[in-house]
Amino acid sequence: MEKRWIPVLAIPGFLVALLAACQPAEPSVLRLATTTSTADSGLLDAILPAFEEGYNAEVDVVAVGTGQAIEIGQNGDADVILVHARSREDAFVADGYGLARHDVMYNDFILVGPPDDPAGIGATGSAADALAAIAQAQASFASRGDDSGTHTKELSIWQAAGIEPDPEQAWYLSLGQGMGETLQFASESGAYTLADRGTYLSQRDNLPGLAILFGGDSIAENPDRALYNPYGVIPVNPDLHDGIQSELAQQFVEWLTSLETQEAIGEYGVDRFGQPLFYPDSEPYHQAHP
């Protein structure tokens, strides 16, 4: 046998191996690109089985940062996205990548940091003032730095404070990591950070070096409306790419915003944390609870 044929003969073997790795395509799989906060908090695990049963569907959850989730939606690699960065959601729809944005739920952001609060942010009246106090004291601040919804929010608060944080400054630490990693970093190194309350509550036991310093013990006690954190769901525009499960995505949006699902969202976490991690916010919910 001519030796040069050996690699050529190997190609069919490779293709067979690749085919063997293929999963048989299952009908009605909905791909949901969402943020780590909805997945890691356990919310989706708690509510999605009802949808999967009711609509004979399977939901594949890809949990990434909001920036990446939006990117996945723009490329047509998800059928629906559930994210939290209002201005970017509106742009996603305005640019034709998404059909329409629907309110789903909200929670809030808090500022956490070393319990002795060296920058004294506990005494300030707004999130912008709190960040300004951190900058003034040059106390360590850990930024997500990963283009996530939380990072987007953080930047908007710095802007409101009239401060442009610069990673060149030793106190501003841009980590480029997820919420969990950033909280752990802050706990270990005595830094302040902005966190969504849900992720902080769910990991609080592993974060001995942190306390809530601004934002109160529940969303009702949060003094600054700027820390409000709304989540929106957007079905991806099926005209841009082939293969998008448009009908199922629409059903998912209707189901997610329905009164029954909304009540399940509002109950999630109450038994474990004494307060919900997410508050229902859809139109049908508000109609039923004016």
Binding site: A10, I11, N75, G76, N206
Partner: protein
């Protein structure tokens, strides 16, 4: 925080890890050993450049491979119609690309290290090309198995590409390495460590199997 990985889900994760990495390893061995042999035994213009490219490929950052595979398989990419993104197939493809240069490069060097006298002897004994290559592969089998071991090591614990092109979807594309990242992200350090120990045990078992293979392959196959 309740761990995201429990009971039967753990077995699914282990099974998928074995399936994806096993398939990728088989594919890279089937493709890489003959290619490595071809590069070792043939002289042609541009060969040195090709060898340099293979050696460079041995250092490919997995996340870059993942990114390229991601862009290829995305619905807005050239192979989007296959619908492979966020499936085990995409992970297998990425891992094959990561392991392939390792298998090719190490196979090639181990064959080149075989005593050149042996080739002359084989020819003088009237061996044809196929018999010659088979005999040389057998002579260098320790190095060839080491090439496969290196390929395996490069992908079993790999997380950048698996996360990117697989999406770490529970019950579908979650493997041990991506589950470890997830648990770490959620602050479940202890469980992440348990998963890490499982991953290491799995790697240990596979390496034991491969090493046995190293000794089992008969010295002169076909004789």
């Amino acid at each position: 925080m309740v761990s995201q990985v429990e009971g039967s889900a753990l077995w699914e994760i282990i099974a998928l890890t074995i399936r994806v990495t096993g398939t990728a390893l088989a594919a890279s061995a089937v493709l890489g050993i003959p290619t490595g042999a071809f590069l070792a035994f043939t002289r042609f213009p541009g060969r040195r450049l090709l060898v340099a490219l293979v050696y460079t490929g041995m250092g490919l950052p997995p996340v870059v491979v993942g990114l390229v595979v991601y862009l290829l398989l995305s619905r807005s990419g050239p192979l989007g119609e296959l619908g492979w993104l966020f499936t085990p197939t995409a992970m297998t493809l990425a891992q094959t690309i990561i392991a392939l240069p390792l298998v090719i490069g190490l196979t090639m060097t181990s064959l080149e290290a075989v005593d050149p006298q042996l080739r002359l002897q084989l020819r003088s004994m009237g061996a044809d090309r196929r018999q010659e290559v088979t005999a040389l592969l057998s002579e260098a089998r320790a190095g060839v198995v080491a090439a496969v071991v290196a390929g395996f090591g490069g992908i079993i614990s790999e997380v950048g590409a698996a996360m990117l092109v697989g999406g770490n979807i529970a019950g579908r594309t979650r493997v041990l390495s991506t589950a470890i990242v997830l648990e770490t992200r959620m602050g479940e350090f202890q469980f992440a460590l348990v998963l890490g120990a499982l991953l290491l045990s799995l790697a240990f078992l596979v390496n034991i199997l491969l090493l046995r293979l190293q000794h089992r392959i008969p010295y002169w196959p076909g004789r």
